[in-house]
Amino acid sequence: MSLLRVEDLHVRFDLPHGGRLHAVQGVSFGVDDGERLGLVGESGCGKTTALLALMGLLPPTAEVDGHVEIDGVEILRGGEDAMRPSRWTDIAMIFQGAMNAFNPVKTVGSQIVEPMEFHGIATGSAAKDQAAELLRLVGIQPSAADRYPHEFSGGMRQRAAIAMALACNPKVLLADEPTTALDVMVQAQILQLLVALTKELGLAVILVTHDLPLVTQVCDRAVVMYAGRIAESGPVDTLFHDPRHPYTRLLFEATPDLTGDVDVVSIPGAPPRLDRELVGCPFEPRCDRAFDPCKVRTPALMDVAVNHEAACHLNDATVMAG
């Protein structure tokens, strides 16, 4: 049994001028102890929304459906209040752009201690000692606990954000674009740190990014999302050597933007709008292998090999046969 299991997750947002946006359309995946899973896709494909749904951090306009289980215990269906105790103790998160994840008017140390005290992990000087220990673990001088976030460099702040995420010994760590806006050297260090921590602490990590090549370096498995659905999932090596969805292949081929702009992936076109019902394969307009059935039939996610699924008509013998 998986440590974290997500089954048929849907997220719909009410739009201000009426209508609904179906951001996550039935996504299922799981992650085990010590495993690193990549959740990959362009911006607007629903990966961050899915992550926020796992933490119960969606805005009031959202409606969720599906199941999220940790160690076999359902945590989603009770709503936000029921979810609160498992936050940070079961699942913790490193947010995109850790620059703003810290409250600017409180010291870094106090913000690491805060969840420990609230969840009853440790209090007072014991909590401070633990915070110092965590900072040392991520490679920051423990004395820096008394400093304010703006006194930290970008890389230090990201490390501190990781230390903060580890405060309550979570089982699963969610990392949303943890290396965006950091320079290449620091990026590599942060990723190394994440890998080392999973090995040392047996932590499961879900890494959300638009950068598929990066996922192949860091993660064991990857889930490629497009238009709120899973396009393909499997071990990273398999995806790299034998992609079974054109989107996965194109993501590998796309060269990262050198100016460092986030989410610029050079596949021509843009993901479809999700505020209306889609007909056919959502990737069809941008696909270099599209053919007639793609326009009218939506491909189902199906096994193409052991532990390897894809949602593309090219894998479906019955469709190919016409």
């Binding site: 719909r12 009031p60 969720v64 459906d65 989603l76 269906r77 709503g79």
Partner: protein
Amino acid sequence: MKAVEPAIAEGTALEAVPSARGNPVIQVLRERRSALLGFFIVAFFIVLAIVGPSLAPYSWTVPSGPVYAPPSAQHLLGTDGSGVDVLSEMMYGGRTSLIVGFAAALVAMIVGGGIGLTAGYTGGGTDVGLMRLTDYFLVIPDLVLMIVIATVFGPSLSHVILVIGLLLWTTTARIVRSQVKSIRERVYVRRARSLGASHRRIVFQHILPQVAPLLIATTVLTIAYAIFDESALAFLGVGVPGVSWGTMLEHAFERTAMTEGAWWAFVPPGLAIGLVVVGCYLMGQAIEDALNPRLRVAHLSIHSWRVRPAGRVVAPAEEPGG
């Protein structure tokens, strides 16, 4: 440097207004009901100021009835402390108040816009010098200086307009400056410059059209302040000679309309000023909001996201969440 202006946050609208969407001012009027309401209020009073005096039932200077006659069929809004018809005074007085408001706001727009544009575009020492000057004027209490100047130079229409206009430019200057600074750095202005465009051409063809919506928003808000200040100067006896809404309040106060119970002598001008100010505020604020990209989702609110009630057909075991 201060982080926030009273009504308008500095550095608002760092993003360009997409020109493809057409004139943003018209766009806002079309899309936002509050802006349209503001527009109709202001438009109503403008029309009144133009045609009002010729429709006025009585003279607005010569008594046409007893002192403080209550509203009746003959005098719809009663008479003031000298027996002059209040409705006629209102119709004529609006003209003076609006002329002062609009003309002073125009002066402030030209001076503030000019200084902001120069400072933002030139940069360097000029920028520092002009902004220092602006900071000093921002601190010196406007109305008091207006009173002093109006007293020293004597009350007349043009003096009042200049005095108000020349002291209300500071906010405009700061907002225009920060906007110009960000536009100037944008790629195509740099490109225009490298292609050898003259400064004049860059300013008038590239920068001014982009600053215009924000400048209009600020100026509309300035009209409100100017009408306010006109009534305040009138209240001290250094306003525009003749009838204005401001002098009507002053007359009512001098002749103790409040304790005479003659509410009709001061409620109409007070409400008229309030209405025009509300109209300007609604319009200016709506334009500003439309330009402001920082419109965010609150991460916290009394409501929470919802769990979709368990499906009607499948999974009846789940209890509906909420």
